[in-house]
C-alpha cells in the first residue's frame, strides 16, 4: 500500500487491525490445536472470551445506570432497589396470567382425581419469587408478574380443590426477611432457605396427611454452614456478567449428624452413596472462573429429567414423588433426611418423562409439585405448552386435561407431550399397599 503513516486514522487502524487479526489467529490456532471442539467463531466465542466480554458488557450497563438488562424484549434481568437481581419484564397481558393459572389448576385437578383412588395426596408447593409480594423493590413501571401469577394460581387451585402450601405466606407469617432468603446475584434461594422450606413441607405433610415428621432432624441448630468460596455468580448474574453483578459467597448447609444416602440418576449417569456431602454435593474446583462454577447446581445438579434419592438410614420410611424446578435443588436433599425415598422429575429438561410411570413404579405416599411462579409461565412454558396441557394443539392431542374423560390422549412415548393425561386413565395405577 502506498501512502504515509501520518494520518489521523493510522493509530486507530493499527489497533483495530491488531484486534481483528489476533482474534482470527487465536481462533485458527485453537481450532488447529483442538483446544476447542468446534470453530470458536461458529457460535461466537470460546467460553473464556465470551465471559470476559459479557463481564465488560455488564460493566458498561452498570456504568450506564441501567436497571433492566435485556437480551431481547422478553428476557430482562432487573436490579431491585436493594441491589439484588431478579427477573422482570414490561407489559405482560393480564389475560395470559389468568389463563395460565386456570389451566394449570384444571390440569392438576386431573392429577388429583387420578390419585384419589389410591389415597395418595397431591400438594402444590408454591416457592417464593425473588421479587417480594407487592413488587417491592421493582423499578416503577415493572409489574410484579410472579406474585400476581402466584396469587392467581393459589386462588385457582383452591377453586379446583387442590391443596396448596404457599411458602410466600409462610415467610410473611414467620416474619422472615425476604431478601435474606435469596442470593444477591441470582433469583434462586439460598441453601439455608431450602432447609427452612424442607422443614415447612415436612410439617405440612405431617399435619395434613399424617406423614411422620421429626422437627429435630431439620432443626437449623443441628446444621453447619460451610463457605464454598466467594465466587458465586448467579445464573442471571452470569448473563449480565461479573462487571454488573460481582460475586458473592456460596454457603452450603450441612447436617452435623450421621447421614447415609444414595443419589442416582436412572440410566447409570450418576450414582453416589455416602453421607450428605458426599452423596449430594459436587463442588467445582477453586480455579473455575465464577461464571462457570454453577455452584447452585452443585446440589444434586439441575439438568436431569428423573432422579432418585434413597435415605439408607430409613427416615420415616415414606416415599415422595416430586415434580420440581431448579428451586428444589437445595431443598430436596434436606427433605430427603426426613423421608425414605424421593423420586423427582424435572419436565423442563425432558417433557417426555412420565409422572405416572414413576407413580406406578414407586407407589409414593404423596405427590408434590414444588415450583416457583417463574417456571410456570415465563421461562420455558413447559407447564403451559407441554407439561400439563395435553389438550393444547401444541402437544398434539385433543383431550381436555380433566380426570373425567378418556378421549384421544397422546401416547406417553409420542415425544410431544408430558404424559399426564394418558396415565390418568391407565387402570394399572396401583393403590398404595397393593402387591
Amino acid at each position: 500500500m502506498n501512502g504515509t503513516a501520518a494520518n489521523a486514522n493510522g493509530p486507530a487502524a493499527i489497533c483495530l487491525a491488531f484486534l481483528l487479526a489476533s482474534g482470527a489467529v487465536l481462533g485458527i490456532w485453537r481450532t488447529c490445536t483442538g483446544g476447542v471442539p468446534a470453530l470458536p467463531w461458529k457460535d461466537g466465542f470460546a467460553e473464556w472470551d465470551r465471559n470476559a466480554f459479557v463481564a465488560f458488557n455488564g460493566l458498561l450497563q452498570r456504568l450506564a445506570g441501567r436497571r433492566m438488562v435485556s437480551n431481547s424484549k422478553n428476557i430482562d434481568c432487573v436490579r431491585l432497589d436493594n441491589g439484588q437481581l431478579a427477573l422482570g419484564s414490561v407489559l405482560r397481558p393480564e389475560g395470559l396470567r389468568q389463563k395460565a393459572a386456570r389451566d394449570i389448576a384444571r390440569s392438576l385437578r386431573g392429577v388429583r382425581e387420578a390419585l384419589e383412588p389410591a389415597g395418595t395426596p397431591l400438594v402444590f408447593v408454591l416457592c417464593p419469587s425473588k421479587v417480594p409480594p407487592g413488587g417491592i423493590g421493582l423499578p416503577d413501571g415493572l409489574e410484579d408478574e410472579d406474585n400476581v401469577l402466584g396469587d392467581l394460581l393459589v386462588a385457582a387451585l383452591a377453586e379446583e380443590g387442590i391443596e396448596c402450601l404457599d411458602l410466600r405466606e409462610r415467610i410473611a407469617r414467620e416474619g422472615l426477611d425476604h431478601a435474606s432468603l435469596f442470593f444477591r446475584t441470582d433469583h434462586h434461594w439460598l441453601p439455608a432457605a431450602g432447609l427452612w422450606a424442607a422443614n415447612e413441607i415436612g410439617a405440612f405433610l405431617a399435619e395434613r396427611h399424617g406423614l411422620p415428621f421429626e422437627p429435630a432432624v431439620t432443626d437449623p441448630a443441628r446444621y453447619r454452614s460451610r463457605r464454598l468460596g466467594e465466587r458465586f455468580l448467579g445464573s442471571f448474574g452470569r448473563r449480565v456478567g461479573l462487571g454488573y453483578a460481582g460475586t458473592e459467597p456460596f454457603d452450603a448447609v450441612l447436617p452435623h449428624f450421621r447421614t447415609d444416602f444414595v443419589f442416582e440418576v436412572p440410566g447409570g449417569a450418576v450414582r453416589r452413596q455416602g453421607p450428605f456431602r458426599k452423596a449430594f454435593l459436587r463442588i467445582p474446583r477453586e480455579k473455575t472462573p465464577p461464571w462457570d462454577s454453577r455452584l447452585y447446581a452443585s446440589y444434586i445438579g439441575a439438568q436431569q429429567p428423573v432422579s432418585r434419592i434413597e435415605n439408607r438410614r430409613g427416615g420415616n420410611g415414606k416415599t415422595l414423588c416430586v415434580v420440581k424446578d431448579s428451586f428444589a435443588a437445595v431443598l430436596l436433599p434436606h427433605l430427603a433426611i426426613q423421608y425414605g425415598k424421593i423420586v423427582f422429575l424435572d419436565p423442563r429438561v425432558d417433557a417426555r418423562i412420565s409422572l405416572f410411570a414413576s407413580i406406578r413404579e414407586e407407589r409414593p405416599d404423596a405427590v408434590l409439585f414444588i415450583l416457583n411462579p417463574n417456571s410456570l409461565i415465563r421461562r420455558n412454558g413447559f407447564f403451559t405448552r407441554r407439561f400439563l396441557f395435553p389438550g393444547d394443539p401444541a402437544s398434539g392431542a385433543g383431550a381436555q386435561p380433566s380426570g373425567g374423560g378418556v378421549g384421544s390422549a397422546p401416547s406417553p412415548a409420542d415425544g410431544k407431550g408430558f404424559a399426564v393425561v394418558p396415565a390418568l386413565h391407565d387402570d394399572s395405577l396401583p393403590a398404595k399397599g397393593s402387591p
Binding site: N9, A12, L19, A24, L39, W41, R50, F53, S70, L142
Partner: protein, 482 residues
C-alpha cells in the same frame, strides 16, 4: 454472514483482507479474482441455495452489456430483455406471493400462493446489475469483455446484501485501476468500526424499545395493557433512530470495507434527520436508492421538466409507488411510498421546499418534516395497514388510550441516554467536532495526541460493540429484509 457476526469479524474479514494484500499489487486480476471468490463465499455462507441465481444474474447481465452496447444490432431488444429478466427475478422471488394473494382477494381467483424464500440482497444486486446494462446501453460506460469484472461489480461483498446500491459508473474505473493506500485503508477500517458501533450500541438497544411498542401494539389499548400514548410516541421515535443507525451503520461498514480495498462508494446517508423538507430528507436518506430511481425511472419519464402538473404528478407517483414496493411486498410499504409521494408532490407544487429560509422557517420546516417522517416510519414498521392506523390512533389517545403508563416512563428512563446520543448524532455534530479538532491540533504533538485519543475511543467503541455480540444480544439488520 452478518458484518456483526463473530465469523465475519474474526475469520472472513481478516482472512479476506490479509490474503488480498498478500497478493502483489501488480497482479490486479488475481486480487480481483480473490475478492470475487471471497464475495461468492460470503454470499454462499448465508444463502447457499441462491448462489447459483446470483452467478446466473452476473452472467446474463455481462452478456446483455456486450449485446446492448452502442453500435450493436438489436441492442434495444437486448436492453429490454436484460431489464425484463432482472425484473422477472425480482417479481418471482419477491412479489409473486403478494400478487397471487391480492388477485385471490380482489377477484376471487384461487391462485396457489407460492412459498418462495427471498434471496438475500436480491433488491440490491438486481438494481446494480440493471445499472450496468442501462449505463452501457446509454454509452455512459463501455461494456466489460471480462465477465469477472462485471461479477465483481455486482457481487462485491461489502455492498452485496444491503447496499449501498453502487452505480456502475462509480466504480467502473476502480475495478481495474484502483489504488489501495494506507490512508484509505485506515480511514476505511475506522469507518467500519464507527458503523459497527452505530449498529450495536444504538440501533440494537433502541430496536428493543421499538419492538416493545410495536409488537405489543394491542397492549397499548387500555383493555389489555395500558402502555399509553407516550409509549406509542417513544416506540415511533426509537424506531426512527433504530432504522437510521441500523442502515447507516451498515452503509458505513460497507463504505469502509470498500475503502480498505481501494473502492470509493458514494455516501448513502447525509444526516437525513437534519432535513427541513421532505424533498431534502430524500436527498439525504438512502441516497443510492434515491438517485437510482431518479436516474433510471424519474428522468426517463421526463422528471419535473414536463408540461403539465398532471404529468409531473404521474411521474412522481410512479417513482414513489416503486420506491415503496421495492422495500417489500406489503401494502404498508406501498402506502409508505405513496405517503411520501403526497408530501413531495405538495412541496413541489407549492414550492415550499425552496422557500424554507431563515431560522424560524427552518425550525418549522424541520418540525413538520420530522413529524411526517415519523408517521411514515409507523406505516413502514407496522405489520399491517390496520395496525399502522391503530398505532397512530394510540399516539393521539384514540380508543381511550391513556396518556402514559409507568412502564412507558421506565422504558424512557432506561433509554434516555441512548435517545439523547442518537438525537445528537443525527445532526452533523461529529464531523463539526472533527473539523474543530483538526483546526485546533496544528502542531505535530497535538496531532499525535488527537490520533491517540481517536484510537483509544474507537478501540473502546469496538470492544463495547463486541461485548454485545458476545452476549448474543438482539441483532437484526433491518434492510436485509428488503
Amino acid at each position: 454472514m452478518l458484518f456483526t457476526s463473530p465469523v465475519f469479524l474474526f475469520f472472513f474479514f481478516p482472512v479476506a483482507v490479509a490474503a488480498y494484500f498478500a497478493i502483489p499489487r501488480r497482479l490486479r486480476s488475481v486480487r480481483n479474482a480473490w475478492l470475487l471468490a471471497a464475495s461468492f463465499f460470503f454470499y454462499w455462507s448465508g444463502e447457499p441455495r441462491f448462489t447459483a441465481v446470483l452467478a446466473a444474474s452476473c452472467l446474463v447481465n455481462w452478456a446483455a452489456g456486450l449485446l446492448s452496447a452502442p453500435g450493436r444490432r438489436f441492442r434495444h431488444v437486448f436492453l429490454f430483455l436484460a431489464v425484463a429478466s432482472n425484473l422477472a427475478l425480482l417479481i418471482v422471488y419477491k412479489y409473486a406471493g403478494f400478487a397471487a394473494e391480492q388477485c385471490n382477494g380482489l377477484f376471487g381467483t384461487s391462485f396457489r400462493i407460492p412459498a418462495i424464500a427471498l434471496p438475500l440482497g436480491i433488491s440490491f444486486f438486481t438494481f446494480q446489475a440493471m445499472s450496468y446494462v442501462i449505463d452501457v446501453h446509454a454509452g455512459k460506460s463501455p461494456p466489460r469483455a471480462n465477465p469477472l469484472d462485471v461479477a465483481l461489480y455486482v457481487v462485491l461483498f461489502p455492498q452485496l446484501v444491503a447496499g449501498p446500491i453502487v452505480r456502475y459508473g462509480t466504480v467502473e474505473a476502480e475495478i481495474r485501476g484502483r489504488r489501495e493506500t494506507w490512508s484509505g485503508f485506515s480511514a476505511g477500517l475506522c469507518r467500519f468500526a464507527e458503523g459497527f458501533a452505530k449498529k450495536m450500541l444504538l440501533a440494537n438497544p433502541l430496536g428493543i424499545v421499538a419492538d416493545s411498542a410495536f409488537d405489543g401494539a394491542d397492549w397499548i389499548l387500555p383493555a389489555v395493557g395500558g402502555g399509553g400514548a407516550f409509549l406509542a410516541w417513544l416506540g415511533a421515535v426509537a424506531f426512527a433512530f433504530q432504522i437510521y443507525f441500523d442502515f447507516s451503520g451498515y452503509s458505513d461498514m460497507a463504505i469502509g470495507i470498500g475503502r480498505m480495498f481501494g473502492f470509493h462508494f458514494e455516501e448513502n446517508f447525509l444526516h437525513p434527520y437534519a432535513s427541513r423538507s421532505v424533498s431534502e430528507f430524500w436527498r439525504r436518506w438512502h441516497v443510492s436508492m434515491g438517485t437510482w430511481f431518479r436516474d433510471y425511472v424519474y428522468f426517463p419519464l421526463g422528471g419535473s421538466r414536463v408540461r403539465t402538473s398532471a404529468r409531473l404528478l404521474a411521474n412522481l407517483f410512479a417513482v414513489w409507488f416503486l420506491t415503496g414496493l421495492w422495500h417489500g411486498a406489503n401494502w404498508t410499504f406501498v402506502l409508505w411510498g405513496l405517503f411520501h409521494f403526497v408530501l413531495i408532490a405538495a412541496e413541489k407544487l407549492s414550492g415550499t421546499a425552496k422557500r424554507v429560509r431563515g431560522p424560524l422557517l427552518s425550525a418549522v420546516g424541520w418540525v413538520g418534516t420530522m413529524s411526517a417522517v415519523l408517521f411514515g416510519w409507523v406505516l413502514f414498521r407496522a405489520d399491517s395497514t390496520a395496525g399502522a392506523f391503530r398505532y397512530v390512533g394510540a399516539m393521539f389517545g384514540g380508543h381511550g388510550v391513556p396518556f402514559a403508563s409507568p412502564a412507558a416512563f421506565l422504558l424512557f428512563r432506561e433509554n434516555a441516554p441512548l435517545l439523547a446520543v442518537s438525537a445528537l448524532l443525527s445532526f452533523p455534530v461529529a464531523p463539526a467536532l472533527a473539523r474543530r479538532a483538526d483546526a485546533f491540533c496544528v502542531s505535530r504533538g497535538a496531532k499525535a495526541v488527537r490520533s491517540a485519543v481517536r484510537a483509544a475511543w474507537l478501540v473502546f467503541l469496538f470492544l463495547a460493540s463486541l461485548s454485545f455480540v458476545a452476549k448474543g444480544a438482539h441483532n437484526p439488520f433491518l434492510y436485509f429484509n428488503f
